[in-house]
């Protein structure tokens, strides 16, 4: 829910970095972003976690 609320507030070219646990954590966040049609700009592994850089919803 926190991810959903945070990405809903993105405007224009704003980007948001989300840090999640690998495995189930990244799976759940990826599903949320897919459902809300947000743009994932870059994903990087950070130790036992994953950093996702997310942009505003795709048009249409």
């Amino acid at each position: 829910m926190r991810v959903k609320a945070a990405v809903a507030g993105l405007e224009g070219d704003e980007l948001l970095e989300i840090l999640v646990d690998e495995g189930e954590g990244v799976l759940r966040v990826a599903q949320t972003l897919k459902d809300s049609r947000h743009r994932i700009v870059k994903v990087e592994n950070r130790g036992h976690g994953v950093s996702l850089i997310v942009g505003k919803c795709k048009e249409g």
């Binding site: 690998e22 495995g23 990244v26 799976l27 990826a30 599903q31 972003l33 897919k34 947000h38 743009r39 994932i40 700009v41 870059k42 994903v43 990087e44 592994n45 994953v50 996702l52």
Partner: protein
Amino acid sequence: MSEHELDSAALGKVGMMRQKQPDMYVMRLKAVAGDLTADQLACVAVVARKYGRGFVHLSTRQGIEIHYVHKDNLETARFELQEAGIEMGACGPRVRVIVACPGDDSCRWGNIDTKKIARELDARYFKLEAPSKFKLAVTGCSHNCTKANENDIGIRGAIEPKWDALDCNDCGLCVSLCPLHSISRAESDEGFSYEIDWESCINCSICTSLCPSGSWEVGRIGYTLFIGGTMGKIPRLASVLKQLVETEEELYLLIEKAFGYYCANGRKKERFGHMIDRIGLDTMKEAILGTE
């Protein structure tokens, strides 16, 4: 019904098992793929109240059992269930009720129509005699909710992903998502690409379902076919007979061959998987796949 008329083996054939309490029986009901209608459930409730003790037991194989039915009421209870379209399950050395997950009907991960396959297998195999009990399960994807590899025959929905460079924005999410770390990024003079290690890929569809740009697409879709799984006293996880069976026709042909081979070569009370261990998986594969 008098005591001498009650033959345990015959009753087992029609899904009725003797309890440890004298004259009391369990009625095992058939629910292919775990499905019953609301009206059928209402009938089960009535029968459980009238002839049982007002409760049902949910089995590990998606079935419903009515316990504490007196031997004198078995036939009447069975008749009332049949009136509602509820058939009895099976016990003993024969093919049991087919188990299935919801599949692509309602599950976002489901790759195949599990219920359709379960109904077809039910029509072809239910209650057929075998050397020992014989269980089949259908599961829609690699989440493996119905535990395909714990069954004598297990069918798991499978996809073979395909990467399309055109829409890919190189975000790298797929590398982090893949549960088996089968996806890697490569660089060459022609640019970047994403590649799959087919040896470790479990055909799960996570990459194709969650790729934000739709660059991972379903290349091929089909069924992973497992043979020889069992739990019980000597558990054995199933072996993969074929990683990606592409048509239903081939799927049913391979199952027919596998079941036929077991019936011809299995010893009395020997589970399919233990027969495979005795004769060798390679021999078994050759027998089933060799003449494809």
